[in-house]
Symmetry: C2
Subunit: 148 residues, 2 copies
């Protein structure tokens, strides 16, 4: 089934989802933040079908999220390395993580935690601020439509 | 094709994606933040097939993201209203928006803008902070695996 494309959308949310809004794509990127670089490692960690992983990685390279590089250990493998653009996806992953932490676990359920590597304590919750630093709830915001 | 489920995952990113990680689901939620409440409005705004919209809305109600409520104007329509849990998805949408703004538009391309409704100026970029307020890059963080 050919999906509708939002590649040219005026809404940046739609355009982002068009670029990376696949269930697997964000999990692949999450794994990359955890240090995974090789096809076989992604495949093993995610339990994803090879054909699907090949397609998703190809799309992510095409979207400029990964660069393909020779293996860092000099072997014949190739590695998927997050570009600057890919590294900027971190906040999306963190926002997903924090929503999940808050709403999808029972209190006693084991879950992984994102911590400040230096101090070892959990990172703060993301917050939305105005340009003057005031905290904003979603009801304090509005969308201004595109002016062509 | 039956997809792999991450409903019981120890990683909150995976669990969130399991709950809302569908391309359409986040666009439906985005529309809800813009004030859209009715099936026909979602359908018209997104250009989504009715069967697909029916399935996605059903899943989002099941996931506790929307409540179904009688229409606010007393008509026979029913409206999809974001729950507290659904409203907390706002930061994910904002993170997607900001990544899109930064990486997926040419400088001269028209795009919608999220502003502080009071002051009218664009909201600040989301930032990750340590518990003491220090800004964190992704390289300043690490994941602590779940302890069962």
């Amino acid at each position: 089934m050919k999906r509708k494309s939002f590649r040219e959308a005026e809404c940046p949310v739609a355009r982002s989802l068009d670029a990376i809004g696949d269930w697997w794509s964000l999990l692949i990127v999450r794994d990359a933040f955890d240090g995974i670089k090789r096809f076989s490692e992604f495949q093993q960690n995610l339990g994803i079908a090879k054909g699907m992983l090949t397609a998703r990685l190809r799309d992510l390279v095409e979207a400029g999220v990964f660069d393909l590089a020779p293996a860092s250990d000099g072997s014949a493998y190739r590695e998927y390395v997050l570009t600057e653009k890919g590294q900027r996806l971190f906040l999306i992953i963190v926002a997903m993580r924090q929503w999940g932490e808050e709403h999808l676990y029972r209190p006693d359920e084991p879950r992984s935690v994102l911590v400040d590597a230096n101090a070892g304590d959990p990172v703060s919750r993301l917050e939305l601020s105005a340009s003057n630093g005031r905290k904003l709830a979603w009801t304090d915001t509005r969308i201004v439509a595109a002016r062509p």
